[in-house]
């Protein structure tokens, strides 16, 4: 069931929010011991929120499609009176006195917060193999990672614990778990969704967005959480649009760019085939596929890595004296950032501006880009390298290679399921759009979802 289906059932009185919430809590109780997707379960407050939602809906006070819907937020979003750890032992006892801007908006939309989702330590990694709070497992195969850093969000949505879970994305951390867990994951344009009250990994690359079971669920969530927030210096005043694609929406004459360089190199052949199949489906729906050459993405990735290493290390500098507080992978990244010269950071931010201009030229040729989200399906837990063709590659660098640069550019990007690989594991198609053109990205994705059934596949429960 999707958010929109549940919302309809709530309004027909076929279901109550209390029933949906009990079902969500039961799913958490059943599956969380195996998956470790939810770090903090909020049974009491969730039941109270569901009761309030039912009362409001029964008297016609309708807050919109999220009203009465059980959700989770990554444990990077501050929640008043509820521990928010950022997946780190440093914040083990951090109980905020405020809600994040996104949490405020979700509460105003009537969503029922069932829990805080597990994550990679400090949101700084792609496995969600957390040394302090345990490994998050992939619902499709518990021996595999769910992706990260929003791994708990991906696992919670894919295993149907909740209808939607918020994630954060600094170098792919929404889209990677969406790809590995077979969910939709939307990283909106930089500034579209408030960062207020979200524990930062990075000042200039962090984005907030939802992981959901359908494209339209991502759209209604974006409608609830988008908008200017004075408390976030980078928040945009660009007007919020209407994001929900119409039933049977058309993509006739939409120009879809299919990169001829970089994005289809060093892929698992199943990924290559799945993404090209989605492009063919789009073409059959009337879209125009245009081969394009994209600017230098390896350079963009290098710029993104310098910015992230420097900013994350600056943020954590005051804690790094006690090295035992960090997992070894996170510590290695923090140490790298501390060794980079300040000139590299400034020049990376200058290159970012240059590359933003280069990439902008692409939008005169196409309306959006199709790329794979990740070059392979979910790797096994503790797998350090992955072999793609003749190349053996670091798992973290491979998983971020196709998504990181989009954060540097601040563009909206969505990952959606595009078919299983030969082992039955989910794969992701990434759709990248113009700045603030989430509506087009969502419309293209919704048309593909309407025409295919990849999003209906569910992990076996064993």
């Amino acid at each position: 069931m999707t958010i929109l289906e549940a919302a309809q059932a709530l309004r027909k009185r076929d279901l109550s929010s209390a029933e949906l919430t009990e079902a969500a809590l039961q799913r958490v109780a059943l599956l969380n011991p195996k998956l470790n997707a939810i770090m903090t379960v909020l049974e009491e407050s969730a039941r109270a929120q569901a009761k309030a939602a039912d009362e409001e809906l029964s008297r016609g006070a309708d807050r919109g499609p999220l009203h009465g819907i059980p959700i989770a937020v990554k444990d990077v979003f501050e929640t008043r009176g509820v521990r928010t750890t950022c997946g780190s032992v440093i914040f083990m006892h951090h109980v905020p006195e405020r809600d994040a801007g996104v949490v405020e908006k979700l509460a105003a939309a009537g969503a029922v917060l069932v829990g805080k989702a597990g994550m990679h330590e400090l949101a700084y990694g792609i496995t969600s193999n957390n040394p302090h709070f345990g490994t998050v497992h992939n619902p499709w195969d518990p021996d595999r990672v769910p992706g990260g850093s929003s791994g708990g969000s991906g696992a919670a949505v894919a295993s149907e614990m909740v209808f939607m879970a918020m994630g954060s994305d600094t170098g792919g951390s929404i889209r990677i778990p969406a790809s590995f867990c077979g969910t939709v994951g939307l990283k909106p344009t930089s500034g579209r969704v408030s960062r207020y009250g979200v524990m930062p990994l990075d000042f200039s690359l962090d984005h907030m967005g939802p992981l959901t079971r359908s494209v339209r669920d991502a759209a209604v969530t974006l409608e609830a959480i988008a908008g200017h927030d004075l408390r976030d210096e980078t928040s945009s005043t660009e007007p919020v649009g209407s994001y929900l694609p119409a039933p049977g929406c058309s993509i006739r004459n939409v120009r879809i760019g299919l990169p001829q360089n970089f994005y289809f190199e060093r892929l698992d052949p199943d990924v290559d085939m799945a993404v090209r199949r989605m492009a063919a489906t789009a073409e059959s729906l009337g879209a125009v596929i245009i081969p394009v050459r994209v600017p230098d993405i390896p350079a963009l990735n290098a710029v993104g890595r310098v910015i992230l290493l420097a900013e994350a290390s600056a943020l954590m500098e005051k804690y790094i004296g006690n090295r035992d507080q960090f997992g070894s992978d996170v510590l290695a990244l923090l140490d790298q950032g501390r060794l980079l010269p300040a000139t590299d950071y400034v020049n990376a931010q200058r290159l970012r501006r240059m590359m933003q201009r280069e990439f902008a030229a692409l939008w005169s040729q196409v309306d959006c880009l199709f790329t794979p989200t990740t070059p392979m399906a979910a790797p096994r837990i503790l797998e350090k390298t992955v072999k793609l063709g003749d190349h053996t590659e670091d798992v973290r660098l491979a998983a971020t290679r196709l998504v990181r640069g989009i954060n540097v550019l601040g563009l909206p990007a969505l990952s959606m399921p595009c078919g299983p690989d030969r082992r039955g594991l989910p794969l992701g198609l990434q759709i990248v759009g113009r700045p603030f053109d989430e509506a087009l990205v969502l419309r293209v994705a919704a048309a593909l979802e309407d025409a295919t059934e990849y999003h209906l596949a569910k992990p076996a429960e064993g």
């Binding site: 501390r338 931010q349 501006r353």
Partner: protein, 59 residues
Amino acid sequence: MKNWKKIAEANDLRIPESDLERIVPALETLEAAFRPLAKTIPDEIEPAITFRIIPEPAE
């Protein structure tokens, strides 16, 4: 190749030698990719860093 050990010592970063050895290959790879790019930046390009002056309300 930079002497990362000396850089760490000069900056009093207190990174244990074994940890330093582990990250040097990644730093070298990143430097090799990034250094040539930095040489291509025209002088007039400013960094994409946000800094805004917000007027204070009059008393």
